[in-house]
């Protein structure tokens, strides 16, 4: 632990270590961004040119490509619909589980938590069969529904934890005035929970955007998402480094835009509320 009174050599050691670690963190991000701005010939050159004329050719190929810009549209649509469904279904359910304290509701809450902890691989085979049976393989709704298996439990669990801590007095007086549960939810709970709802929305968007395994197994062409396309191109024999780097760089944009909303709540989200 460094304090103001620590000797200088200790401080220097800590700063040196932190400097190295920060370089380790930034290197891959800088590397793919510089790679995305090069031509294939430039990207193959080692040691790399540090000063070069940036080329936006890779980005142009993505945006007017057909297959690739479709992956971005799919990813955005799937993530946005997931945010809506997770909130629309999750808010009432979380509220019910927060206020209805009974053995049954405790069991339901616990089951929802354990779903989040279960391996995705455990349900992927039956999920694939279910989707085949329903004719939803390689469709927008197939991927959207499957992503809900991750996002809906997450939304319910986080919102439930938040609702439990809201003061109950307002709701009780509203009930005495004859308000029903939907009215209470809409007029009292929602306005009080806006920051948490925004955080959950951002988290759901990010998890859906980043999800790979389900989308990879359930799509082949028309419903592919960005991570699926990145791996598909990364797996081909002829490496098109600038194109892949541009794809990877572009896939970082939403997360970097949302980071302000996510950062404060991400620990809570990823540990399912065990760390506040």
């Amino acid at each position: 632990m460094i304090t103001r009174r620590s000797p200088n050599w200790q401080k220097a050691l800590v700063y040196a270590f932190m400097g190295l670690y920060l370089m380790f963190v930034l290197l891959p991000i800088i590397w793919i961004i510089q790679g995305s701005l090069k031509t294939t010939a430039q990207a193959l050159q080692l040691p790399p040119d540090l000063i070069f004329i940036p080329s936006f050719d890779a980005y142009r190929r993505i945006l007017v490509g057909g297959q690739l810009d479709r992956a971005f549209l799919n990813s955005i649509r799937i993530a946005v619909v997931n945010v809506f469904l997770a909130l629309f279904l999750g808010i009432p359910a979380a509220y019910a589980l927060a206020r209805w304290r009974s053995f049954a509701s405790e069991q339901a809450s616990f089951w929802i938590l354990s779903v989040r902890m279960a391996p995705a691989f455990g349900i992927i085979v039956p999920m694939y069969m279910l989707m085949r049976w329903a004719g939803l393989i390689d469709t927008f709704w197939g991927v959207t529904l499957v992503h809900l298996t991750i996002n809906l439990p997450l939304a319910i669990w986080l919102l439930r934890g938040y609702f439990v801590e809201l003061p109950i007095a307002l709701e009780e007086s509203a009930q005495l005035d004859g308000a029903n549960l939907i009215q209470i939810l809409w007029h009292i709970i929602l306005p009080m929970s806006r920051p948490m709802i925004v955080a959950v929305a951002a988290l759901v968007f990010m998890l859906s955007w980043n999800e790979f395994l389900f989308a990879f197994v359930l799509t082949s062409e028309s419903a592919v998402t960005v991570p699926v396309v990145i791996t598909a191109i990364a797996g081909t024999m002829r490496f098109d480094w600038p194109l892949m780097s541009a794809l990877a760089s572009m896939s970082l944009i939403p997360a970097f835009l949302l980071v302000a909303y996510i950062q404060r709540h991400i620990v809570r989200g990823l540990t399912m509320g065990a760390v506040k």
């Binding site: 509701s105 616990f110 279960a118 455990g122 991570p227």
Partner: protein, 283 residues
Amino acid sequence: MKRYFPLLSPALLILIVIVAFPTVYVFYVSTQQWLLSVPIREFVGLGNYIDLLTGPDFRSAFRVTIIYVVASTLLTGTAGFVLAFLMSGNLRGRNVMRTIVVLPLIVPPVVAGFAWKFLLSREVGLIGGWFLPSLGLEASMLADPNLAMVSILIADLWSKTPLMFLIFLAGLQAIPEDLYEMATMDGTRLGSLLRFIVIPLLRPTIALAVVLRLIDAINTFDLIYVMTSGGPGTATQTLPLLGWKIGFNYFDFGQASALAVIMLILVVVPSTIIIGRFTRLAD
């Protein structure tokens, strides 16, 4: 109370269809001979389990998984703890450092894997193609069976340390500052500070971090798939990659389901016990 039921039932209904049904169904499929290419299905009891457990693939994948999970937990846990410990001290530029350290958390694992594959590539990578050879190390990181696992662990360290860091930071911030002050005034050495104050107080945090990392590591598919697809050979083929191969390359749903059940048990039993204790702590 019945009036809460209408609020709960739509979500519950969807979760039953997309989560509970597959979870139960996987047990049924695991007892069937069920290949996509063969229309005849029959009950084989534990046959799929026996085939799987006696075959060479499972044993190798199990070994690789243990190596990966243990190494990953140790590496990311240690790095996360050290970073959190250093940064809870009096450092200038702490907020900027914190933002950068957390950055990989929002990078999709597929992108993290790709970026490291690019960096470590023998042909075009800054590290694998230029830095290491200039030190006289000519081996190809991703093509050598042992080094491929090392490559994955490097990317893993990069991608998974931030969550460990944030969990430990939250735990360290909950320790009253007076304790440190007293300890440093008494001239307590760093070793005893860690051993007698920090680590005992942090025990629940450490357990939580370890459990989360274990669960996540056993399930890791994306990072490994994009970097090596389990290769070279089967050197980095963990259980999820083997399961994917059985299920979606050979389309042997019966055996893939048997593997899924084994993984469910490997993950759910210990984590349910420990997480059950933690949620009570957190409430």
